[in-house]
């Protein structure tokens, strides 16, 4: 008995049936990405872990990819959504190249395009569950920005996602300066990643560092950081802790 037209159109994303068609929770996730501007371009670091809840299930996930000639994208959050974003960007860069006219999309343009995509998906209650870091250099201009899953975006000299915001950014605020050399940049990133390795339980000790300069993008082979677990603070960590019950 259908007295009135249904309140929602059949293809809406609201209502019980539609829940299977939109992202409600992330499943396979990547943890922090950290990036900074240095003398010749951008340096970005991310580990290679894909967690399935609390299980460190996948240990060979590349979470940073080159976009076109001028940009580098790193993502944390749902890995399948990151792959979807890479497909969008693939199309974007393809059409840009098909113009074949000497113009090309730079990091600023890609960052804004991603902002539009993320924000529009959020408005439809079907977000891409990622925090993205977009860095690049074009015509000598360095660019580093970030977009969250709800479309919050900004640029800065150093950015991070997830736990990186709490553990890495304070280090960067103290120690980052203009025109870091490549070696100093890498040392600074490794310092941040080491802290994250100690304190973030979804981090694994297998990371890559990517750099993007005018010449192009290079990404290192996966490697691990030296860690030291004999700090006295690590012995009996709960001694003296105040419980809540």
């Amino acid at each position: 008995m259908n007295f009135m037209a249904s309140k929602q159109p059949e293809n809406s994303l609201l209502g019980p049936e539609a829940d299977s068609q939109r992202t409600l929770y992330p499943y396979v996730t990547g943890t922090s990405v950290v990036a900074l501007k240095y003398k010749d371009g951008i340096l970005m670091a991310a580990d290679m872990g894909g967690s399935y809840g609390s299980t460190l299930r996948y240990k060979n996930v590349e979470r940073m990819k080159a976009i076109g000639k001028h940009s580098l994208l790193g993502a944390s959050g749902e890995i399948s959504d990151f792959q979807e974003i890479l497909r969008y960007l693939d199309d974007l860069i393809l059409y840009d190249n098909m113009w074949d006219d000497g113009n090309s999309l730079g990091p600023k343009e890609v960052h804004n395009y991603l902002t539009r995509v993320m924000y529009n998906r959020r408005n439809k209650f079907n977000p891409l569950w990622n925090s993205l870091v977009l860095g690049g250099i074009k015509n000598g201009q360095k660019y580093l920005g970030t977009v969250s899953m709800i479309g919050v975006n900004f640029e800065d000299d150093h950015v991070a996602t997830g736990f990186g915001n709490h553990l890495a950014r304070p280090i960067l605020r103290q120690e980052w300066h203009e025109n870091l050399s490549f070696e100093d940049g890498v040392k600074l990133l490794e310092k941040c990643m080491r802290v994250l390795l100690y304190r973030d339980r979804s981090a694994i000790n297998k990371l890559q560092i990517a750099k993007i300069t005018e010449e192009g993008m290079t990404i290192s082979q996966p490697y691990s950081l030296k860690t030291y677990w004999e700090f006295s603070a690590f012995e009996n960590p709960t001694q003296g802790a105040v419980g809540s019950w």
Partner: protein, 312 residues
């Protein structure tokens, strides 16, 4: 009863020949109707008909409409582009039509032909620029806008229910790769130019520009505007050049697209009109540049004679 039918109005129906020929009549050639004598062609009824010579006459007629419009000219240097047009008013009582449109801070367009079609295309161009800016926070490269415009015009040359746009557009814009001036045809073609003129009596302006264009790349902004005014003067053929009969617009590095106000234009006209009297209208490029530079201090003296002082 039969007699009634045979002789009455229905008789025609009864006696009519069959609608289809039983044996087809031999082809006597294409039907010759009197109005066909007015037009050169029988292949010009719609845009989707080719002529035996491989031409689309409707498209060519559309380009004819551009030639009938009042003149528009454009010229560019490495860093600036100047657009100019002649203001033709319907009557002394009416105001003139707007023929130069700002499309974005870095792109402007001057039109010749069906102004209404030009307005519609300007609106399309503005839309494209705004959408690109919103998505990419970056200005749309002129070269891409021009191709989109050309593809839009081409559609109208391949649909039987459409007609080609009857307007030619001079698109001036700044890009990463520098300053550009393009001409978009009703045919869907586009060309890049150092300098160009379209519309009625544009040939006179083109002749002037052909003489001078080698100097444009390195010319200063002011020299470029002066050359634009001189090119417009050529199309007026004797009529006095005043700021009320022309419109000038400039876009350049560090200078967003804007239309110069009448006062400034008049001052520039006054400046070089005097120079023109001193050395004759057909000046050599080097001599003109030299004269303009040395003539400037003389403007102060001439000012006393009732001419507006140079205030640029």
């Amino acid at each position: 009863m039969q007699k009634c039918i045979k002789n009455g109005p229905l008789a025609q129906l009864l006696n009519a020949k069959k609608a289809y020929p039983v044996r087809p009549e031999p082809w006597k050639g294409p039907p010759t109707v009197s109005y066909r004598k007015m037009f050169r062609n029988q292949y010009d009824t719609d845009v989707t008909t080719w002529s035996p010579a491989g031409r689309l006459f409707q498209v060519e007629y559309a380009m004819e409409a551009v030639k009938q419009g009042s003149a528009a000219i454009g010229l560019r240097s490495k860093t600036h582009i100047v657009l100019g047009c002649v203001n033709k008013a319907n009557s002394e009582l009416s105001s003139h039509q707007k023929k130069i449109f700002k499309v974005d801070d870095h792109i402007g367009v001057a039109i010749a032909g069906l102004t209404a079609d030009g307005r519609v295309l300007s609106r399309y161009m503005r839309n494209e620029c705004i959408n690109y800016s919103f998505t990419y926070e970056s200005p749309l490269p002129v070269g891409r806008l021009v191709v989109q415009l050309a593809d839009k015009a081409q559609v109208c040359t391949q649909r039987s229910w459409k007609r080609p746009y009857g307007v030619g557009l001079l698109v001036a814009g700044l890009d990463e790769s520098g300053a550009h001036l393009y001409y978009n045809c009703p045919s869907g073609n586009y060309f890049e130019y150092q300098a160009f003129a379209i519309g009625s009596r544009s040939q006179a302006a083109k002749t002037y520009l052909e003489r001078k264009f080698e100097n444009f790349t390195d010319a200063s902004r002011d020299d470029l505007v002066k050359d634009a005014l001189m090119a417009i003067r050529e199309t007026l053929q004797g009529e006095t050049l005043k700021s009320s009969v022309c419109t000038i617009a400039v876009v350049g590095v560090g200078e967003p697209f804007h239309i110069l106000d009448q006062g400034t234009v008049q001052q520039m006209i006054d400046a070089f009109e005097i120079v023109g009297e001193q050395e004759g209208p057909a000046a050599e490029p080097d001599a003109a540049a030299g004269q303009e530079a040395s003539a400037e201090p003389e403007q102060g003296a001439a000012a006393g004679e009732g001419v507006a002082p140079m205030d640029i």
